[in-house]
């Protein structure tokens, strides 16, 4: 009798041999030796190149390492979300740059999504003027280099008048070449009428919230939202806080108060948003078109209005197609934000470049940049994938 021979396809996914190494074997696929050989080659290459890097750095008298991060930076950064000055460390400077990158990427993604979705829907409009206009927009923004677009927006924001001759919209938004000034929401400590009204409203909504808590399913989403808002309002009212706005005021040579966006930030945000919105518009269009005609017809037969069809029938299905593509748009936007350096916005790359330049640790600076973008993008991917899975699960439940 022969000992049992494992079947030829044992390494193929679907036929994993049971046991602790099963996952490993499965991962190696049908030709494990080739796989391992390639892996070994890649690793050997990395070791060889790594060794060369170290040898070359040694020859140039450069000491690799990240110890420099705790040393004093000695340069200023134009805008930062955290307190930063030249006496802080390189590490903190990088953090300031990173937060700038995250901010512009976050708001860019939000705004591009809103604008892109609207454009995508308009693109499918029966009105020829609207759909042609959107199409022109999309072609224009997708077929010109982003860097050029950024230079254009930057130049535009720089071309605004000086603060003394600021363009004002309703005396609350001011456009100047030193920045765009907006009212800033601030928390005021003082019981107020809004708080009271909100509280009364909340009381009215309590039964609904209660119902939700007692697992009554049929609560509409807006009721949950207003319930949550009401609770916040009650807490705010009880503790004497309320929301107000701090308005920018003109005075002297500059504006003070309010929220100010520098021309560099505004230019970058505008450029990234408009550019991504073009890509997103195409994604949304293709997503909507992927929903079969039959769906529209069926919905119409049920007597739904076009807006309702779009909102209730088509968009939810289109989202399945849209979401994965959207992820890559978000990733693009995040990476593209590194063009900031060209127009003077102190993003991560700009700060890291300066650091590489003043410390000589360019390699480390590049490694840091690459690492951080990788993490950022993995984070975005993770969130989007989770959202996508939820979407698919919901779909599956419904089916």
């Amino acid at each position: 009798m022969h000992a049992p021979v494992p079947p030829r396809g044992a390494f193929r996914p679907g036929f994993p041999k049971p046991g602790r190494l099963a996952a490993f074997r499965q991962w190696l696929g049908p030709s494990p030796f080739t796989q391992l050989a390639v892996l070994a080659l890649v690793l050997a290459g990395l070791v060889y190149f790594g060794g060369n890097v170290l040898a070359t750095m040694d020859r140039l008298g450069l000491k690799p390492g990240f110890a420099f991060l705790s040393q004093r930076a000695n340069f200023e950064i134009g805008e930062s979300l955290i307190a930063y000055s030249a006496s802080d460390s390189y590490g903190r400077a990088l953090l300031a740059g990173l937060l700038n990158t995250v901010t512009v990427a976050f708001f860019g993604c939000m705004l591009a999504t809103i604008l892109g979705t609207l454009l995508g829907i308009m693109r499918l409009s029966d009105n020829l003027v609207i759909s042609t206009a959107v199409r022109t927009y999309v072609e224009l923004f997708r077929n010109t280099p982003l860097l050029l677009q950024l230079f254009l927006w930057s130049a535009l924001f720089h071309a605004l008048p000086a603060p003394r001759r600021a363009i004002s919209l309703f005396d609350s938004i001011f456009l100047t070449n030193r920045g765009v000034f907006l009212p800033r929401p601030v928390v005021v400590v003082m019981p107020s009428l809004t708080g009271l009204v909100a509280a009364l409203l909340a009381v009215g909504l309590v039964p609904l919230i209660a119902r939700r808590l007692f697992q009554v399913r049929a609560v509409l989403r807006w009721q949950v939202v207003s319930g949550a808002l009401a609770i916040i309002a009650i807490i705010a009212w009880v503790s004497g806080l309320s929301l107000a706005a701090e308005w920018p005021v003109k005075g002297g040579f500059n504006l003070s108060g309010g929220l100010s966006l520098t021309p560099e930030f505004a230019g970058l945000l505008t450029g990234l948003t408009l550019n991504s919105a073009a890509a997103i518009a195409e994604i949304v269009r293709s997503g909507i078109q992927s929903v079969g005609k039959g769906q529209w017809e069926a919905a119409r037969a049920l007597g739904l209005k076009p807006r309702q069809i779009m909102r209730l029938i088509v968009l939810p299905q289109a989202l399945r197609v849209i979401t994965p593509l959207m992820t890559s748009s978000y990733l693009d936007l995040t990476k593209n934000s590194s063009l900031a350096v060209a127009i003077g916005f102190p993003d991560l790359v700009s700060v890291a470049n300066t650091i590489g330049n003043t410390t000589g640790q360019s390699l480390e600076a590049i490694v840091l940049i690459a690492g951080v973008y990788l993490l950022l993008n993995l984070g975005v991917s993770l969130l989007m994938n989770r959202y996508n899975r939820r979407l698919l699960a919901k779909e599956a439940r419904r089916a």
Binding site: N52, R59, L60, L62, L147, H158, N177, G360
Partner: protein
């Protein structure tokens, strides 16, 4: 066109980053004194330069001109006896230092300031200072500012990767005043920030600003404050660890200085060939002993003077009286006339 060249530059800077990675690809064996060998093999010297009329800028025919460019040509004469065998590539202050580290250039002729950090931490060697500069401030006239300290609260454009980015922070901390920096990499955008009124002032090397002022739309609306915030000795920079190449750079520059001290010019150099002065005989290679000793063409100094002239000629032709920049020699006068320009003896 400006924008296109900017894009190209950013592409090259991306390439620059890739080159950092490509340090990895350099075989370890290519170590001792390799620069000259590599240059000879390639047939051309690669020099990184900036873009400031007078110091380095392409003329209407696309041929590079300027003070630093002439030193690049002089180097090509020393190595190849041909002033054309040097290739100039524009590189932003931010990109050029890593690019030199990565071996993209054989020499930077960009107005790099000699600093101890660059020597030790970036791994650079510097040739002789070819231009003594200091950091200046180019200010809008209507601010009525006469001194740097008056700029309290101002928005100031700085160019990323320069010593100026660090000096200006030091200055304001020292004086206890505040400023908002707008840090810009690209030279054209840097200039535009002042033109558009985005910033109240620009800070950079003083002579750089003098040149920038002439490029503004309304030069008369701006003044270059007379004050200098720092010492900026500008010198050719090379990668550390190649003594031979360093000495070639050193003595190429010294040759132009020594020639001026001897009174030898592009036009009269041939008449000096008949000189009885043994020092001049050695210098011009009529007595070949020196050149043989150092392994260069014994007539390298003669060839340099013949091609680009002496230091004073280079200075006057590019940035001196009668040029757009109209600079005084100042510190850049020969030591014999009260300046700092000095060559060790050729012997």
């Amino acid at each position: 066109m400006q924008a296109l060249s900017v894009i190209r530059r950013h592409l090259t800077s991306a390439v620059g980053a890739a080159v950092i990675g490509a340090i990895a690809l350099l075989p370890v064996s290519a170590q001792a004194g390799p620069t000259l060998d590599k240059i000879k093999e390639r047939g051309v010297i690669k020099a990184g330069v900036g873009t400031i009329p007078g110091f380095f800028s392409p003329d209407s025919e696309g041929r590079w001109q300027g003070l630093f460019i002439d030193f690049g040509r002089a180097l090509a004469v020393t190595v190849f006896n041909d002033p054309e065998k040097v290739e100039f590539t524009n590189s932003s202050p931010q990109q050029r230092l890593p690019a030199l580290q990565a071996g993209e250039f054989d020499v930077l002729l960009t107005g790099v300031t000699v600093t101890i950090t660059r020597a030790f931490k970036l791994g650079f060697h510097f040739g002789p200072t070819v231009f003594y500069d200091g950091q200046g401030l180019l200010v809008r006239k209507d601010l009525n500012v006469t001194k740097a300290v008056d700029l309290d609260g101002a928005t100031i454009g700085v160019q990323s990767g320069t010593t100026g980015e660090l000096n200006i922070a030091d200055f304001f901390r020292k004086t206890g005043k505040k400023f908002t920096p707008v840090t810009i990499e690209e030279t054209g955008e840097f200039l535009k920030a002042l033109d558009s009124g985005r910033v109240d002032a620009l800070t950079q090397d003083g002579t750089d600003l003098a040149a920038k002022r002439t490029q503004l739309k309304k030069p008369d609306d701006y003044i270059l404050l007379p004050e200098r915030l720092s010492k900026e000795p500008l010198a050719p920079a090379i990668r550390a660890g190649d003594d031979q190449w360093l000495e070639i750079v050193n003595w190429t520059v010294y040759a132009t200085i020594q020639a001026e001290e001897f009174g030898i010019t592009k036009d009269n150099v041939d008449s000096f060939l008949k000189s009885d002065d043994p020092a001049i005989k050695r210098f011009l290679g009529v007595d070949p002993s020196l050149g043989e000793a150092i392994g260069l063409n014994p007539k390298f100094a003669y060839n340099i003077i013949k091609a680009v002239g002496n230091y004073g000629e280079i200075f006057e032709r590019n940035v001196g009286k009668g040029t757009a920049l109209n600079l005084e020699r100042g510190y850049n006068q020969l030591w014999t006339k009260g300046g700092l320009i000095y060559s060790p003896p050729f012997r």
